[in-house]
Protein backbone atom coordinates (compact mmCIF):
# COMPACT_ATOMS: atom_id res chain seq x y z
CA UNK A 1 0.00 0.00 0.00
CA UNK A 2 1.31 3.32 -0.94
CA UNK A 3 -0.47 5.35 1.68
CA UNK A 4 -0.81 4.60 5.30
CA UNK A 5 -4.41 3.54 5.54
CA UNK A 6 -4.15 2.64 9.18
CA UNK A 7 -6.50 3.90 11.81
CA UNK A 8 -7.77 7.13 10.32
CA UNK A 9 -11.47 7.61 9.83
CA UNK A 10 -12.72 6.30 6.48
CA UNK A 11 -13.24 8.92 3.76
CA UNK A 12 -16.50 7.32 2.68
CA UNK A 13 -18.67 4.93 4.53
CA UNK A 14 -21.79 3.45 2.99
CA UNK A 15 -24.07 1.50 5.28
CA UNK A 16 -26.99 -0.63 4.17
CA UNK A 17 -27.79 1.39 1.11
CA UNK A 18 -30.88 0.35 -0.82
CA UNK A 19 -32.63 1.89 -3.80
CA UNK A 20 -35.65 0.57 -5.63
CA UNK A 21 -37.00 1.75 -8.99
CA UNK A 22 -40.58 0.76 -9.71
CA UNK A 23 -40.34 -2.46 -7.73
CA UNK A 24 -36.91 -3.40 -9.08
CA UNK A 25 -34.15 -3.27 -6.52
CA UNK A 26 -31.21 -1.53 -8.16
CA UNK A 27 -29.19 -1.63 -4.97
CA UNK A 28 -29.86 -3.67 -1.89
CA UNK A 29 -28.03 -3.53 1.43
CA UNK A 30 -24.82 -2.14 -0.01
CA UNK A 31 -22.20 -1.47 2.65
CA UNK A 32 -18.55 -0.64 2.21
CA UNK A 33 -16.01 1.88 3.34
CA UNK A 34 -13.24 3.65 1.54
CA UNK A 35 -10.08 4.60 3.40
CA UNK A 36 -8.68 8.11 3.27
CA UNK A 37 -6.17 8.45 0.46
CA UNK A 38 -6.91 5.06 -1.05
CA UNK A 39 -7.94 4.01 -4.53
CA UNK A 40 -10.98 1.78 -4.82
CA UNK A 41 -12.33 0.04 -7.86
CA UNK A 42 -16.03 -0.61 -8.37
CA UNK A 43 -16.74 -3.32 -10.90
CA UNK A 44 -19.60 -5.50 -11.95
CA UNK A 45 -21.39 -6.57 -15.12
CA UNK A 46 -23.72 -4.18 -16.92
CA UNK A 47 -26.89 -3.71 -14.95
CA UNK A 48 -25.34 -4.74 -11.68
CA UNK A 49 -26.30 -1.43 -10.12
CA UNK A 50 -22.97 0.38 -10.41
CA UNK A 51 -24.39 3.54 -11.85
CA UNK A 52 -27.27 3.62 -9.38
CA UNK A 53 -24.80 3.33 -6.52
CA UNK A 54 -22.64 5.99 -8.12
CA UNK A 55 -25.62 8.35 -8.48
CA UNK A 56 -26.90 7.66 -4.98
CA UNK A 57 -23.54 8.53 -3.48
CA UNK A 58 -23.50 11.72 -5.55
CA UNK A 59 -26.99 12.64 -4.44
CA UNK A 60 -28.76 12.35 -7.78
CA UNK A 61 -31.01 9.75 -6.18
CA UNK A 62 -32.10 9.64 -2.58
CA UNK A 63 -31.63 6.15 -1.11
CA UNK A 64 -34.63 4.27 0.25
CA UNK A 65 -32.62 2.78 3.08
CA UNK A 66 -29.18 3.18 4.59
CA UNK A 67 -26.88 6.13 5.00
CA UNK A 68 -23.77 7.65 3.49
CA UNK A 69 -20.98 9.19 5.57
CA UNK A 70 -18.40 11.41 3.96
CA UNK A 71 -15.37 12.09 6.11
CA UNK A 72 -17.39 11.39 9.24
CA UNK A 73 -20.29 13.59 8.18
CA UNK A 74 -23.70 12.15 7.38
CA UNK A 75 -24.56 13.32 3.87
CA UNK A 76 -27.46 10.96 3.17
CA UNK A 77 -29.95 13.81 2.89
CA UNK A 78 -27.55 16.50 1.70
CA UNK A 79 -28.09 18.20 -1.64
CA UNK A 80 -25.70 17.58 -4.49
CA UNK A 81 -24.09 20.97 -4.23
CA UNK A 82 -23.48 20.66 -0.51
CA UNK A 83 -21.91 17.22 -1.06
CA UNK A 84 -19.67 18.87 -3.57
CA UNK A 85 -18.77 21.55 -1.08
CA UNK A 86 -17.96 18.85 1.45
CA UNK A 87 -15.46 17.48 -1.03
CA UNK A 88 -17.24 14.90 -3.12
CA UNK A 89 -17.05 15.14 -6.89
CA UNK A 90 -17.17 12.95 -9.95
CA UNK A 91 -16.58 12.70 -13.65
CA UNK A 92 -19.32 11.39 -15.86
CA UNK A 93 -18.96 9.62 -19.15
CA UNK A 94 -17.78 11.59 -22.11
CA UNK A 95 -21.03 13.10 -23.32
CA UNK A 96 -21.74 14.76 -20.03
CA UNK A 97 -19.69 17.94 -20.17
CA UNK A 98 -20.58 21.44 -21.29
CA UNK A 99 -20.13 21.17 -25.03
CA UNK A 100 -20.40 24.83 -25.99
CA UNK A 101 -18.35 26.28 -23.16
CA UNK A 102 -14.63 26.70 -23.37
CA UNK A 103 -12.40 24.50 -21.28
CA UNK A 104 -11.35 27.20 -18.87
CA UNK A 105 -14.88 28.39 -18.27
CA UNK A 106 -16.06 24.84 -17.56
CA UNK A 107 -13.38 24.47 -14.93
CA UNK A 108 -14.31 27.87 -13.54
CA UNK A 109 -17.91 26.75 -13.05
CA UNK A 110 -16.54 24.11 -10.74
CA UNK A 111 -14.06 26.46 -9.09
CA UNK A 112 -16.94 28.77 -8.12
CA UNK A 113 -17.83 26.05 -5.67
CA UNK A 114 -14.83 27.21 -3.62
CA UNK A 115 -14.69 30.90 -4.35
CA UNK A 116 -16.95 33.69 -5.53
CA UNK A 117 -14.17 35.80 -7.04
CA UNK A 118 -13.75 35.52 -10.75
CA UNK A 119 -9.99 36.06 -10.73
CA UNK A 120 -9.52 33.41 -8.09
CA UNK A 121 -11.72 30.93 -9.93
CA UNK A 122 -9.74 31.62 -13.03
CA UNK A 123 -6.43 31.00 -11.37
CA UNK A 124 -7.70 27.77 -9.82
CA UNK A 125 -8.87 26.64 -13.25
CA UNK A 126 -5.65 27.65 -14.97
CA UNK A 127 -3.49 25.92 -12.41
CA UNK A 128 -5.36 22.67 -12.86
CA UNK A 129 -5.39 22.92 -16.64
CA UNK A 130 -1.64 23.48 -16.62
CA UNK A 131 -1.19 20.52 -14.30
CA UNK A 132 -3.14 18.29 -16.69
CA UNK A 133 -1.32 19.64 -19.73
CA UNK A 134 -4.39 21.40 -21.12
CA UNK A 135 -3.20 24.98 -20.77
CA UNK A 136 -2.90 25.37 -24.53
CA UNK A 137 -6.50 24.29 -25.02
CA UNK A 138 -7.99 26.52 -22.33
CA UNK A 139 -9.73 28.81 -24.82
CA UNK A 140 -11.25 26.03 -26.91
CA UNK A 141 -14.82 24.88 -26.71
CA UNK A 142 -15.19 21.41 -25.26
CA UNK A 143 -16.79 20.27 -28.48
CA UNK A 144 -13.63 21.17 -30.38
CA UNK A 145 -11.40 18.87 -28.35
CA UNK A 146 -10.58 15.30 -29.17
CA UNK A 147 -11.96 12.53 -27.02
CA UNK A 148 -8.95 12.24 -24.78
CA UNK A 149 -8.61 15.96 -24.25
CA UNK A 150 -12.28 16.09 -23.42
CA UNK A 151 -11.80 13.46 -20.78
CA UNK A 152 -8.95 15.39 -19.29
CA UNK A 153 -10.96 18.59 -19.44
CA UNK A 154 -13.73 16.94 -17.56
CA UNK A 155 -11.28 15.62 -15.01
CA UNK A 156 -9.94 19.15 -14.68
CA UNK A 157 -13.48 20.43 -14.11
CA UNK A 158 -14.02 17.90 -11.36
CA UNK A 159 -10.67 18.77 -9.80
CA UNK A 160 -11.51 22.45 -9.78
CA UNK A 161 -14.04 21.74 -7.03
CA UNK A 162 -11.03 20.71 -4.89
CA UNK A 163 -12.47 17.30 -4.01
CA UNK A 164 -11.36 15.09 -1.18
CA UNK A 165 -13.07 12.13 -2.79
CA UNK A 166 -13.36 11.77 -6.54
CA UNK A 167 -15.61 9.27 -8.29
CA UNK A 168 -14.53 8.39 -11.82
CA UNK A 169 -17.08 6.83 -14.15
CA UNK A 170 -15.57 4.87 -17.05
CA UNK A 171 -12.74 7.30 -17.40
CA UNK A 172 -10.63 4.92 -19.45
CA UNK A 173 -13.26 3.85 -21.96
CA UNK A 174 -12.08 4.38 -25.50
CA UNK A 175 -8.52 5.30 -24.60
CA UNK A 176 -5.49 3.88 -26.31
CA UNK A 177 -2.80 2.20 -24.30
CA UNK A 178 -0.64 5.31 -24.23
CA UNK A 179 -3.55 7.42 -23.10
CA UNK A 180 -4.41 4.94 -20.40
CA UNK A 181 -0.87 5.15 -19.04
CA UNK A 182 -1.03 8.94 -19.06
CA UNK A 183 -4.29 8.91 -17.15
CA UNK A 184 -2.91 6.42 -14.68
CA UNK A 185 0.03 8.71 -14.11
CA UNK A 186 -2.26 11.65 -13.55
CA UNK A 187 -4.48 9.74 -11.16
CA UNK A 188 -1.47 8.47 -9.29
CA UNK A 189 -0.23 12.01 -8.94
CA UNK A 190 -3.57 13.22 -7.67
CA UNK A 191 -3.71 10.41 -5.21
CA UNK A 192 -0.12 10.67 -4.00
CA UNK A 193 0.60 14.34 -4.21
CA UNK A 194 -2.82 15.83 -3.45
CA UNK A 195 -4.11 13.02 -1.28
CA UNK A 196 -7.36 12.70 -3.20
CA UNK A 197 -9.25 9.53 -2.47
CA UNK A 198 -10.41 7.86 -5.68
CA UNK A 199 -13.23 5.51 -6.53
CA UNK A 200 -13.01 4.18 -10.05
CA UNK A 201 -15.98 2.64 -11.80
CA UNK A 202 -14.57 0.85 -14.79
CA UNK A 203 -14.96 -1.71 -17.51
CA UNK A 204 -11.28 -1.86 -18.34
CA UNK A 205 -10.46 -4.35 -15.70
CA UNK A 206 -6.70 -4.39 -15.89
CA UNK A 207 -6.64 -0.76 -14.85
CA UNK A 208 -8.73 -1.48 -11.80
CA UNK A 209 -6.77 -4.52 -10.93
CA UNK A 210 -3.46 -2.77 -11.25
CA UNK A 211 -4.31 0.49 -9.50
CA UNK A 212 -6.70 -0.26 -6.72
CA UNK A 213 -6.07 -0.82 -3.06
CA UNK A 214 -9.52 -2.28 -2.78
CA UNK A 215 -11.96 -3.70 -5.33
CA UNK A 216 -15.70 -3.85 -4.75
CA UNK A 217 -17.69 -6.21 -6.94
CA UNK A 218 -21.38 -5.63 -7.51
CA UNK A 219 -23.79 -8.14 -8.96
CA UNK A 220 -27.56 -7.78 -9.18
CA UNK A 221 -27.47 -4.75 -6.92
CA UNK A 222 -25.54 -6.41 -4.10
CA UNK A 223 -21.91 -6.49 -3.13
CA UNK A 224 -20.62 -9.99 -3.68
CA UNK A 225 -17.00 -9.39 -2.82
CA UNK A 226 -14.74 -6.73 -1.36
CA UNK A 227 -11.01 -7.06 -1.06
CA UNK A 228 -7.63 -6.50 -2.62
CA UNK A 229 -7.34 -7.12 -6.36
CA UNK A 230 -5.67 -10.41 -5.64
CA UNK A 231 -8.41 -11.54 -3.32
CA UNK A 232 -11.13 -10.50 -5.72
CA UNK A 233 -9.62 -12.09 -8.77
CA UNK A 234 -9.37 -15.42 -7.03
CA UNK A 235 -12.76 -15.28 -5.36
CA UNK A 236 -14.94 -18.07 -6.71
CA UNK A 237 -18.07 -15.97 -6.45
CA UNK A 238 -16.57 -13.24 -8.60
CA UNK A 239 -15.16 -15.61 -11.11
CA UNK A 240 -18.48 -17.29 -11.53
CA UNK A 241 -20.62 -14.24 -11.79
CA UNK A 242 -18.46 -11.85 -13.66
CA UNK A 243 -15.19 -12.94 -15.06
CA UNK A 244 -16.14 -16.30 -16.35
CA UNK A 245 -14.63 -19.61 -15.28
CA UNK A 246 -11.47 -19.34 -17.33
CA UNK A 247 -10.27 -16.01 -16.08
CA UNK A 248 -6.51 -15.78 -15.89
CA UNK A 249 -5.13 -13.53 -13.18
CA UNK A 250 -1.77 -13.09 -14.85
CA UNK A 251 -3.29 -11.29 -17.80
CA UNK A 252 -3.87 -8.28 -15.60
CA UNK A 253 -0.50 -7.67 -14.22
CA UNK A 254 1.11 -5.93 -17.12
CA UNK A 255 0.53 -2.43 -15.75
CA UNK A 256 2.58 -1.39 -12.84
CA UNK A 257 0.84 0.14 -9.94
CA UNK A 258 1.54 3.82 -9.55
CA UNK A 259 4.06 5.05 -7.05
Amino acid sequence: MSINMAKSQPMLEVVGLGKTFGGLAANADVSFSVARGSISGLIGPNGAGKSTLFKTILGVHRPDTGRIMLDGQDITQASQQSRCRSGLCCTFQISESFTEMDVRESAMVAAYCRTSRRSEARSIADAILTDLGLAARAGRRNSELNAFERKKAELATALATRPKLLLLDELFAGCSLGEISELIDILGRLNQRDGITLIIVEHVLHVIMSMSDQVIVLESGRIIETGTPEQVSTSPAVLKAYLGEDYNVDEHQQFRRPG
Binding site: N46, G47, S143, N146, R150, L177, H203, L205, E251, Q254
Partner: protein
Protein backbone atom coordinates in the same frame (compact mmCIF):
# COMPACT_ATOMS: atom_id res chain seq x y z
CA UNK B 1 -16.69 -11.09 -50.96
CA UNK B 2 -19.97 -10.05 -49.38
CA UNK B 3 -18.80 -6.76 -47.95
CA UNK B 4 -15.51 -4.95 -48.10
CA UNK B 5 -14.63 -1.82 -46.24
CA UNK B 6 -11.78 0.26 -47.48
CA UNK B 7 -9.99 2.93 -45.51
CA UNK B 8 -13.12 4.09 -43.75
CA UNK B 9 -13.10 7.30 -41.69
CA UNK B 10 -15.97 8.44 -39.53
CA UNK B 11 -16.62 11.11 -36.96
CA UNK B 12 -19.04 11.27 -34.09
CA UNK B 13 -19.89 14.81 -33.02
CA UNK B 14 -16.87 16.06 -34.96
CA UNK B 15 -14.49 13.71 -33.15
CA UNK B 16 -12.69 11.26 -35.41
CA UNK B 17 -13.63 7.78 -34.22
CA UNK B 18 -12.75 5.58 -37.19
CA UNK B 19 -9.38 6.24 -38.72
CA UNK B 20 -8.86 4.31 -41.93
CA UNK B 21 -10.56 1.02 -41.13
CA UNK B 22 -10.28 -1.68 -43.79
CA UNK B 23 -11.87 -5.07 -43.42
CA UNK B 24 -13.74 -7.74 -45.28
CA UNK B 25 -16.71 -9.94 -44.58
CA UNK B 26 -17.00 -13.20 -46.44
CA UNK B 27 -20.21 -14.89 -47.36
CA UNK B 28 -21.39 -17.69 -45.15
CA UNK B 29 -18.90 -16.99 -42.44
CA UNK B 30 -19.00 -15.60 -38.94
CA UNK B 31 -16.74 -12.57 -38.75
CA UNK B 32 -16.02 -11.01 -35.39
CA UNK B 33 -14.79 -7.59 -34.42
CA UNK B 34 -13.46 -7.28 -30.93
CA UNK B 35 -11.97 -4.39 -29.07
CA UNK B 36 -12.23 -2.37 -25.92
CA UNK B 37 -15.12 -0.11 -25.01
CA UNK B 38 -14.83 3.03 -27.10
CA UNK B 39 -12.49 1.57 -29.69
CA UNK B 40 -15.01 2.39 -32.43
CA UNK B 41 -16.75 -0.94 -32.88
CA UNK B 42 -20.26 0.37 -32.62
CA UNK B 43 -19.48 3.41 -34.72
CA UNK B 44 -18.20 1.09 -37.42
CA UNK B 45 -21.52 -0.75 -37.50
CA UNK B 46 -23.53 2.46 -37.40
CA UNK B 47 -21.49 3.80 -40.27
CA UNK B 48 -22.03 0.67 -42.32
CA UNK B 49 -25.81 0.82 -41.93
CA UNK B 50 -25.95 4.53 -42.58
CA UNK B 51 -26.84 5.82 -39.13
CA UNK B 52 -23.56 7.64 -38.90
CA UNK B 53 -21.97 9.48 -41.84
CA UNK B 54 -18.67 8.28 -43.26
CA UNK B 55 -16.16 11.07 -43.75
CA UNK B 56 -13.86 9.09 -46.02
CA UNK B 57 -13.20 5.70 -47.58
CA UNK B 58 -15.69 3.29 -49.01
CA UNK B 59 -18.03 0.49 -48.04
CA UNK B 60 -18.93 -2.02 -50.74
CA UNK B 61 -21.72 -4.47 -50.29
CA UNK B 62 -21.95 -7.05 -53.05
CA UNK B 63 -19.82 -4.79 -55.17
CA UNK B 64 -22.03 -1.74 -54.72
CA UNK B 65 -20.84 1.36 -52.87
CA UNK B 66 -23.19 2.00 -50.01
CA UNK B 67 -21.49 4.56 -47.78
CA UNK B 68 -23.57 7.54 -46.78
CA UNK B 69 -26.78 6.20 -48.19
CA UNK B 70 -29.82 6.49 -45.95
CA UNK B 71 -30.21 3.68 -43.46
CA UNK B 72 -33.51 2.42 -44.85
CA UNK B 73 -31.98 1.97 -48.31
CA UNK B 74 -29.07 0.05 -46.92
CA UNK B 75 -31.46 -2.17 -45.01
CA UNK B 76 -33.30 -2.84 -48.25
CA UNK B 77 -30.06 -4.14 -49.78
CA UNK B 78 -30.07 -6.98 -47.26
CA UNK B 79 -28.00 -5.74 -44.35
CA UNK B 80 -29.71 -6.23 -41.03
CA UNK B 81 -28.27 -4.77 -37.85
CA UNK B 82 -29.21 -5.99 -34.41
CA UNK B 83 -28.37 -2.81 -32.53
CA UNK B 84 -26.56 -2.41 -29.28
CA UNK B 85 -28.75 -2.23 -26.21
CA UNK B 86 -31.47 -4.17 -28.01
CA UNK B 87 -33.58 -1.16 -28.91
CA UNK B 88 -36.82 -3.04 -28.92
CA UNK B 89 -40.11 -1.40 -29.73
CA UNK B 90 -40.75 -1.78 -26.06
CA UNK B 91 -44.43 -0.84 -25.99
CA UNK B 92 -45.25 -3.27 -28.78
CA UNK B 93 -45.84 -7.00 -28.58
CA UNK B 94 -43.38 -9.65 -29.71
CA UNK B 95 -45.31 -10.38 -32.86
CA UNK B 96 -45.55 -6.66 -33.66
CA UNK B 97 -41.82 -6.33 -33.20
CA UNK B 98 -41.29 -9.19 -35.59
CA UNK B 99 -43.80 -7.67 -38.01
CA UNK B 100 -41.74 -4.49 -38.04
CA UNK B 101 -38.68 -6.58 -38.74
CA UNK B 102 -40.46 -7.91 -41.82
CA UNK B 103 -41.23 -4.40 -43.06
CA UNK B 104 -39.17 -4.83 -46.21
CA UNK B 105 -41.00 -7.95 -47.34
CA UNK B 106 -44.40 -6.89 -46.02
CA UNK B 107 -46.04 -7.44 -49.40
CA UNK B 108 -44.84 -11.04 -49.64
CA UNK B 109 -47.12 -12.69 -47.09
CA UNK B 110 -45.76 -16.19 -47.69
CA UNK B 111 -42.23 -15.09 -47.06
CA UNK B 112 -43.24 -13.29 -43.86
CA UNK B 113 -45.01 -16.44 -42.76
CA UNK B 114 -41.94 -18.56 -43.48
CA UNK B 115 -39.58 -16.19 -41.71
CA UNK B 116 -41.90 -16.06 -38.74
CA UNK B 117 -41.94 -19.84 -38.51
CA UNK B 118 -38.19 -19.91 -38.70
CA UNK B 119 -37.83 -17.39 -35.87
CA UNK B 120 -40.35 -19.18 -33.71
CA UNK B 121 -38.57 -22.45 -34.39
CA UNK B 122 -35.28 -20.90 -33.38
CA UNK B 123 -36.74 -19.27 -30.25
CA UNK B 124 -39.81 -21.23 -29.20
CA UNK B 125 -40.24 -19.05 -26.12
CA UNK B 126 -41.20 -16.13 -28.36
CA UNK B 127 -44.00 -18.06 -29.99
CA UNK B 128 -45.37 -18.90 -26.59
CA UNK B 129 -45.56 -15.25 -25.50
CA UNK B 130 -46.01 -13.52 -28.83
CA UNK B 131 -48.74 -11.19 -27.55
CA UNK B 132 -46.80 -9.88 -24.59
CA UNK B 133 -45.20 -6.48 -24.69
CA UNK B 134 -41.49 -6.63 -25.43
CA UNK B 135 -40.52 -4.63 -22.37
CA UNK B 136 -41.87 -7.32 -20.06
CA UNK B 137 -39.26 -9.89 -21.10
CA UNK B 138 -35.95 -10.70 -19.44
CA UNK B 139 -32.69 -9.51 -20.96
CA UNK B 140 -31.90 -12.76 -22.69
CA UNK B 141 -35.38 -13.08 -24.14
CA UNK B 142 -35.27 -9.50 -25.32
CA UNK B 143 -32.06 -10.27 -27.13
CA UNK B 144 -33.87 -13.17 -28.80
CA UNK B 145 -36.60 -10.80 -29.94
CA UNK B 146 -34.08 -8.45 -31.49
CA UNK B 147 -32.33 -11.33 -33.19
CA UNK B 148 -35.63 -12.63 -34.49
CA UNK B 149 -36.59 -9.15 -35.61
CA UNK B 150 -33.30 -8.86 -37.45
CA UNK B 151 -33.95 -12.14 -39.26
CA UNK B 152 -37.47 -11.28 -40.37
CA UNK B 153 -36.37 -9.45 -43.49
CA UNK B 154 -34.31 -12.47 -44.66
CA UNK B 155 -31.09 -10.43 -44.73
CA UNK B 156 -27.99 -11.43 -46.65
CA UNK B 157 -25.83 -10.20 -43.81
CA UNK B 158 -26.78 -10.19 -40.17
CA UNK B 159 -24.75 -7.79 -38.06
CA UNK B 160 -24.97 -8.03 -34.29
CA UNK B 161 -23.72 -5.33 -31.95
CA UNK B 162 -22.74 -6.33 -28.42
CA UNK B 163 -24.83 -9.41 -28.20
CA UNK B 164 -23.63 -10.23 -24.67
CA UNK B 165 -24.28 -6.83 -23.17
CA UNK B 166 -25.78 -7.22 -19.72
CA UNK B 167 -26.48 -10.92 -20.11
CA UNK B 168 -25.51 -13.73 -17.78
CA UNK B 169 -22.73 -15.94 -19.19
CA UNK B 170 -25.07 -18.90 -19.41
CA UNK B 171 -27.53 -16.95 -21.52
CA UNK B 172 -24.74 -15.68 -23.73
CA UNK B 173 -23.66 -19.22 -24.52
CA UNK B 174 -27.23 -20.16 -25.32
CA UNK B 175 -27.65 -17.35 -27.77
CA UNK B 176 -24.26 -17.87 -29.35
CA UNK B 177 -25.31 -21.44 -30.02
CA UNK B 178 -28.28 -20.13 -31.95
CA UNK B 179 -25.95 -17.96 -33.95
CA UNK B 180 -23.94 -20.98 -34.90
CA UNK B 181 -27.15 -22.70 -35.95
CA UNK B 182 -28.06 -19.72 -38.10
CA UNK B 183 -24.64 -19.71 -39.67
CA UNK B 184 -24.95 -23.41 -40.45
CA UNK B 185 -28.17 -22.56 -42.26
CA UNK B 186 -26.07 -20.32 -44.49
CA UNK B 187 -26.46 -16.89 -42.90
CA UNK B 188 -23.46 -14.59 -43.08
CA UNK B 189 -22.88 -13.10 -39.68
CA UNK B 190 -20.87 -10.14 -38.56
CA UNK B 191 -20.48 -9.93 -34.84
CA UNK B 192 -19.18 -7.11 -32.71
CA UNK B 193 -18.31 -8.23 -29.23
CA UNK B 194 -16.62 -7.31 -26.02
CA UNK B 195 -16.80 -10.82 -24.72
CA UNK B 196 -13.79 -11.79 -26.75
CA UNK B 197 -13.19 -15.38 -25.96
CA UNK B 198 -16.67 -16.65 -26.41
CA UNK B 199 -17.04 -14.72 -29.60
CA UNK B 200 -13.81 -15.90 -31.13
CA UNK B 201 -14.64 -19.46 -30.28
CA UNK B 202 -17.60 -19.52 -32.62
CA UNK B 203 -16.14 -17.26 -35.30
CA UNK B 204 -14.26 -18.00 -38.49
CA UNK B 205 -12.35 -14.81 -38.84
CA UNK B 206 -11.62 -11.93 -36.48
CA UNK B 207 -10.48 -8.35 -36.38
CA UNK B 208 -9.19 -6.46 -33.40
CA UNK B 209 -10.10 -2.79 -33.34
CA UNK B 210 -8.08 -0.42 -31.24
CA UNK B 211 -8.64 3.31 -31.02
CA UNK B 212 -10.36 3.49 -34.39
CA UNK B 213 -7.88 1.35 -36.28
CA UNK B 214 -7.65 -2.32 -37.15
CA UNK B 215 -4.84 -3.47 -34.92
CA UNK B 216 -4.86 -7.13 -35.85
CA UNK B 217 -6.69 -9.60 -37.99
CA UNK B 218 -6.59 -13.29 -38.64
CA UNK B 219 -8.55 -16.45 -38.33
CA UNK B 220 -10.40 -16.70 -35.09
CA UNK B 221 -8.36 -19.68 -34.11
CA UNK B 222 -5.07 -17.91 -34.70
CA UNK B 223 -6.20 -14.82 -32.78
CA UNK B 224 -7.38 -16.90 -29.87
CA UNK B 225 -4.02 -18.58 -29.58
CA UNK B 226 -1.82 -15.60 -30.31
CA UNK B 227 -0.15 -14.71 -27.06
CA UNK B 228 0.32 -11.09 -28.01
CA UNK B 229 -3.33 -10.70 -28.80
CA UNK B 230 -4.28 -12.29 -25.57
CA UNK B 231 -2.08 -10.06 -23.55
CA UNK B 232 -2.72 -6.78 -25.17
CA UNK B 233 -6.28 -6.84 -26.37
CA UNK B 234 -8.21 -9.72 -25.09
CA UNK B 235 -7.72 -9.15 -21.41
CA UNK B 236 -11.38 -8.30 -21.32
Amino acid sequence: MLMSINNLDARVERLPVLKGVSLEVEEGRITVIVGANGSGKSTLLRTIVGLNPASGGSIRFKGEEIQNRPAYEIAALGISLVPEGRRLFSEMTVSENLEMGAYLCRHDKAKVRANLDRVYELFPVLKEHRDRKAKTFSGGQQQMITLGRGLMSSPKLLMIDELSLGLAPKVISEILEKIVVLNKQGMSIYLVEQNVKQALRIADYGYVLDNGRVAMKGTAHALLNDENVQKTYLGL
